[in-house]
Symmetry: C2
Amino acid sequence: MAEGSLAALIDSLRRLPGIGAKSAQRLAFHLLQHDREGAQRLAQALQAASTSVRHCERCHTFTEAPVCDICLDPQRDARLLCVVESPADRAALERTGSYRGLYFVLMGRISPLDGLGARDIGVGELLQRAGDGVTEEVIVATNFTAEGEATAHVIGEALKARGLKVTRLARGVPIGSELEYVDLGTIAHALSDRR
Amino acid sequence: MAEGSLAALIDSLRRLPGIGAKSAQRLAFHLLQHDREGAQRLAQALQAASTSVRHCERCHTFTEAPVCDICLDPQRDARLLCVVESPADRAALERTGSYRGLYFVLMGRISPLDGLGARDIGVGELLQRAGDGVTEEVIVATNFTAEGEATAHVIGEALKARGLKVTRLARGVPIGSELEYVDLGTIAHALSDRR
Ligand SMILES: [Zn+2]
Ligand SMILES: [Zn+2]
């Protein structure tokens, strides 16, 4: 129904995960009808982020510097390495204020249905990172979902085979839930009860 | 949790209607992790559309030219003017293949809850457009929702006061539904049964 640049905009929006054809059309109409400034702001934010955001060389999270703030912080306990599925999960753990070690951010979980294997989520980089000779314990904090548990199993076996101590967040975290939605107290408790 | 350009991107996405904080974060991570090309494509589409898309001078729909294709088409019956709430509704009517008149696109409906009055949706422009001396009948095809019906009433009264014949799509369209989701046969039937 739309020609030229409007059709191109609807098409680009439709390619976003969770946005169907109708939502894409509604978003495009909303931006053009009520918020052209928002459209321009979003365009610039997309441009800036997609050119300047990269992965931290040490923990693989998103950062604009070669190494992220946490990895550069000399106050953190470098003997502890906590593995999470995403920057959002890292942020949830940070907000508890009860973890002072370092992180490794997998950028996903092993998911055969989505065609994501150990290589796709950076397990090789994790093994290299954990084998730095300083890391003593790896806390596996992948989500307590089926895929998160399977990922934890694969990672745990590989790390143990390299002589590292591997722990998992305590089951205080409700089964079936995703870490970023869990309340901070529960996460803090699970962290101190890790096994 | 995110700094600089990543935070700005999440914030811009969060301002879109129907996109909450978590969805914005997920969309941003998805684009940066899996689809930077898509992010750049979307940025360019937003930029292009927000600078080049304007309103048709005759029917008020979105177009990149001063006057849209349908308004320029000499084959259309200029005695008939169909009023719809959105370009999507116009597209739904076009797809039936059973309407050969012209359109006026309101860009919304009267909605006190959303702070949208007759002026905001372009009723003044509609009255001017319908008073061109050529238009004989105005078919009011606003949605069969409470707000669409109220809008139809306001428009209908104003048009009748100017001596124009005003019809409404027949009630073949299911009550409570939005036009763009209705099957084409129902719309075609409602069009021929207009009262
Ligand atoms: Zn880092
Ligand atoms: Zn037009």
